[in-house]
């Protein structure tokens, strides 16, 4: 099997584990059913092919008994699978919500907004395309969408849930071991549905709390001349119309919050790395990287783009 980034069959949490158990149960049962029924088909063709004449249908009685037995067995197997399904469904839904982390997930064409819920508004953390969760604690995701229907899906952790405008629904998940799990939009949402990925970073509790604290801080001041120039470019061009960098006047709400974009591993919804070259490529011509995405091309000089990239990747 080739190495794949995400898989239903490699569960990292209780929900995905229950579902994976159900998968293997159904896989083996249906495989057995397939083998038996297809073998019967071949046997019937072989037997019928050697017959000199068809059996008169008055002699169908024993055959009727066999068919009835087959149908009865089918019903028994189906009800067995139904029972297993109901049991798994309960187990998947039964995760306790105590000490849960609550995250509001909002879908956008074509990126993910994550807001960590806190009673005190100033303590809320808003980030994009990278969801941090503590290992071993249940997480409640309250999902909705601002534009079209998307679907939140991390195969290694839990089944998917649609993000539907006008409707908020909640889904629970939990990671049992640390790691980075890839997720991707699973409901066709337009031109860049293919590049609407995100990452779930599961880390130990203490590390998670440190991350959360760091995310609450305002953006750091630029440390180099280039980054400083980059901030000026950012604040004096169209960037501010869509993006927020807390601690600066930039407060746009259309695109992802960039306050700590430098801490995120990827940009453009999992498409490019957060490295100066990739960021510059994205800023210069987003329509080449992701045709149909909402980010317009910019008309900046190469020097300005370099400086801007320098500024952004250092927003730790």
């Amino acid at each position: 099997m080739t190495a794949v980034l995400q898989s239903v069959l490699d569960p990292a949490g209780p929900q995905a584990a229950h579902i994976s158990w159900l998968w293997w149960l159904m896989f083996w049962v249906t495989t057995a059913v397939f083998l038996v029924v297809f073998a019967l088909t071949l046997a019937a063709v072989w037997r019928g092919g050697r017959a000199q004449a068809a059996i008169a249908d008055t002699a169908d009685k024993p055959l009727a008994a066999a068919v009835s037995f087959g149908v009865a067995l089918t019903v028994v197997i189906l009800f067995g699978l139904l029972g297993a399904t109901m049991w798994t469904h309960r187990a998947v839904l039964a995760l306790g919500a105590e000490s849960a982390v609550t995250v509001n997930v909002t879908g956008h064409q074509f990126w993910w907004e994550f807001e960590y819920d806190e009673a005190v508004p100033s303590q809320r953390v808003t980030t994009a395309n990278e969801l941090h969760i503590p290992v071993g604690r249940p997480v409640v995701l309250k999902v909705t969408s601002r534009d079209v229907i998307h679907s939140f899906w991390v195969p290694n952790l839990q089944g998917k849930r649609d993000l539907i405008p006008g409707i908020m629904s909640a889904i629970w998940l939990q990671a049992d071991r640390p790691g980075v799990y890839r997720g991707q939009c699973a409901e066709f949402c337009g031109k860049q549905h293919a590049h609407m990925a995100f990452e779930v970073v599961a880390e130990p509790d203490a590390q998670f709390e440190r991350w959360l604290d760091a995310q609450r801080q305002l953006a750091s001041a630029p440390q180099s001349a280039a980054a400083s120039h980059g901030r000026d470019v950012f604040l004096t061009t169209q960037c501010v119309l869509c993006h927020t960098v807390r601690g600066t006047p930039a407060a746009g709400k259309v695109g992802p919050d960039l306050t700590h974009v430098g801490t995120r591993g990827k940009i453009a919804s999992g498409t490019l790395q957060t490295k100066p070259d990739d960021v510059a490529q994205w800023i210069r011509d987003p329509q080449h990287v992701k045709p149909g995405s909402q980010m317009p091309p910019t008309r900046l000089t190469d020097a300005d783009v370099q400086a801007l990239s320098e500024y952004l990747v250092n927003l730790k």
Partner: protein, 643 residues
């Protein structure tokens, strides 16, 4: 008033030339056109699929961007579901149901002619739009809000929504005609328990069409109203509901699967019976399975929406229904196996495709039980696992039986035999290609590959299996080409078929190949469910129908006792003109709501022409001359006592 064979044929023939072709109301001509057009649609949509496989054969393929890819997959799905699968099955019904029930014509022949022209209009409209870069691009189910004006300001979703309207009109008309043909035009003696399995399947399907299509009509019409006159049915910001569309669509969409699959099972039962040389095992059980499938089929639509977050109790109900529907299908499987087990099986070309059907459809049906389970469903929903599943179900349940039907009935329609050797090659290539293309998609889905993505990153690891899948498409294409080339060759060069090359039991094989204009010189009566095999050689025929007009015998629904004679309509240009007027209105209504107002005037005029009062010889009914019963009820008298 005894029949004059020559006069009879002249009465039922079309006028020669283009005019006669345009005016034809002959169900055989219309059936052939349906089948031919549907084949072209299959090839076009298959071509689009091949382009999609080319694009996905490697990660970040620069071949095409999302704008084109989205049009390709939307048009592929839309074509296969609306312009291939349903019409091809209905076309088979239009051609064979009247022949199988021993009738001279289909009921409402002008309406059937109209339905074909509407269907053709929908096909031309969709592909003209695609070549003008306005093909549908939001999927074959076009969910709002993505399909709303705000997110897709082009005309592409309008093209999708209006194409639905064309096909609805066409398929509803055919459904009504097939139901009426089966209920009122059956040969005397063909009681309910003697109706051929294929006809049962067509009737059950037609009832499903009648109940399912209005739901999608609501959905697509409400969508186009939202887009055209801002009605806000699905506009969340103004009190609409995005989920409403999904419920309406899938209330049609799930039965649609059975609308496609049930005629397939009718073909399977027909062919297995013929080549097992014995009556269908468990006829009653299989008919009841079809009917119960049709009923349960309307109770599963929510399993397409589990990921929207359905409450547990509601979801459990739909899970149970989705699993239970496997029971009637299981009954049919066991009855087919029992028929072959106790029969004398001949592995002719149609039976090869039957073996393919068993393999492919079994896999599709079994992955279907997995999709019924909510927890598994929410993992694999909208991934390539589902793509694999429904191709196994639909190609297994419809396309394999259709290929079998093609080999089985080609001799009847064309009068010549296809090559058995080419059939084996065509089957082998298609079968291997199909499994190579679609089996790996199960694994891709489990590895997290969502459907409807125009490309993927190399690090996802999906590249190798996608390459395998794409290579299988080559074999499938080769298989289709072998079959088509052989069909092209055989139409003049194939061995003459004769009336009944397969020694098959049903009535369509008692007439010439291809059938005469009047179908039967003397319409038959039947004394059993398998007239060719079981009826006595001196089985009575229907006499007393006029040969100078299109006289048809109408019988009672249950006992098929003759009821009255009906003079069927002559060929007419009005169905075509009405279809053109309707199509013009549909096209106009994409651009302005006023088209509905002005466009209905030509439709009204053409309808007046169509229904212009006729002389008694051009239509109307005459009482059947007999004043007393001519036939015993099927349960009243032994078989040998037929007159």
């Amino acid at each position: 008033m005894l029949e004059d064979p020559q006069e009879l044929e002249e009465t039922w023939a079309d006028e020669p030339g283009l005019w006669g072709w345009l005016c034809s109301v002959d169900h055989k001509a219309i059936g052939r056109r349906y089948l031919g057009t549907a084949t072209v649609m299959f090839l076009l949509a298959g071509g689009l699929a091949a382009l999609m496989r080319l694009q996905l054969s490697r990660p970040e393929n620069p071949l095409m961007g999302p704008d084109l890819y989205n049009q390709l997959f939307s048009t592929h799905g839309t074509t296969m579901m609306f312009l291939f699968a349903v019409p091809v099955m209905q076309g088979l019904g239009v051609y064979f149901v009247p022949l199988m029930v021993g009738a001279r014509s289909i009921a409402f022949p002008r309406m059937v002619a109209y339905s074909y022209w509407m269907y053709l209009g929908g096909c031309i409209f969709l592909y003209t739009s695609l070549f003008l870069n306005t093909g549908p691009d939001v999927g074959w189910f076009s969910y709002p809000p993505l399909s709303e004006q705000l997110f897709d300001p082009t005309k592409r979703p309008d093209v999708w929504a209006q194409m639905i309207t064309w096909t609805e009109v066409a398929s509803l008309a055919v459904a009504v005609s097939i139901i009426t043909t089966t209920f009122k035009l059956r040969a005397p003696g063909m009681a309910l328990n003697r109706i051929p399995m294929f006809v049962w399947a067509q009737v059950v399907t037609s009832f499903m069409v009648v109940f399912a299509m209005p739901a999608v009509m609501m959905a697509s019409t409400a969508l186009i109203l939202d887009r055209l006159v801002a009605t806000h049915f699905f506009d969340v910001d103004r009190g609409g509901d995005a989920l409403l569309f999904q419920h309406l669509f899938w209330f049609f969409g799930h039965p649609e699967v059975y609308i496609i699959f049930i005629p397939g099972t009718g073909i399977v039962s027909t062919i297995i019976t013929t080549f097992s040389r014995r009556p269908m095992f468990g006829y009653l059980a299989v008919v009841l399975s079809l009917v119960s499938t049709a009923f349960i089929g309307f109770g599963l639509w929510v399993h397409h929406m589990f990921a929207t977050g359905v409450p547990q109790l509601g979801a459990s109900f739909f899970t149970a229904a989705s699993i239970i529907i496997a029971v009637p299908t299981g009954i049919q499987f066991f009855c087919w196996i029992a028929t072959m087990w106790s029969g004398k099986v001949e592995l002719k070309s149609p039976m090869l495709w039957m073996l393919g059907f068993f393999w492919v459809f079994l896999i599709g049906g079994l992955t279907g039980t997995m999709l019924a389970a909510v927890p598994l469903n929410i993992q694999v929903h909208d991934t390539f696992f589902v793509v694999a599943h429904f191709h196994y179900v639909l190609i297994g349940g419809a396309v394999f039986p259709l290929f079998a039907a093609f080999y089985y009935w080609y001799p009847k329609i064309v009068g010549r035999m296809l090559s058995e050797r080419a059939a084996a090659w065509g089957f082998g290539l298609f079968f291997i290609g199909f499994n190579t293309t679609f089996f790996p998609m199960h694994i891709l889905g489990l590895h997290g590959m969502p459907r409807r993505i125009y490309t993927y990153l190399p690090e996802t690891g999906w590249g190798p299996l996608n390459l395998v899948a794409s290579s299988g498409a080559l074999f499938m294409t080769a298989g289709v080409i072998v079959v088509l080339l052989d069909a092209w060759r055989a139409r003049h060069a194939g061995a003459l078929a004769g009336d009944n090359p397969w020694a098959a039991p049903t009535l369509e094989w008692t007439t010439s190949s291809p059938p005469a204009h009047s179908n039967f010189l003397h319409p038959p009566t039947v004394g059993s469910a398998y007239p060719v095999w079981q009826d006595s050689p001196d089985q009575a025929v229907v006499v007393g129908l006029r040969s100078d007009v299109r006289d048809v015998l109408v019988t009672h629904l249950l006992d098929t006792e003759p009821d009255h004679r009906s003079v069927f309509p002559e060929p007419s240009i009005w169905p075509l003109l009405t279809a053109i007027a309707t199509s013009v209105m549909f096209i106009g209504s994409i651009f302005t709501a006023w088209a509905v107002v002005y466009g209905s005037i030509p439709i009204f005029i053409t309808m007046v022409g169509w229904f212009w009062p006729k002389s008694p010889d051009e239509g109307g009914t005459q009482p059947w001359p007999a004043t007393e019963r001519t036939l015993p009820l099927p349960n009243e008298a032994p078989e040998g006592a037929m007159p």
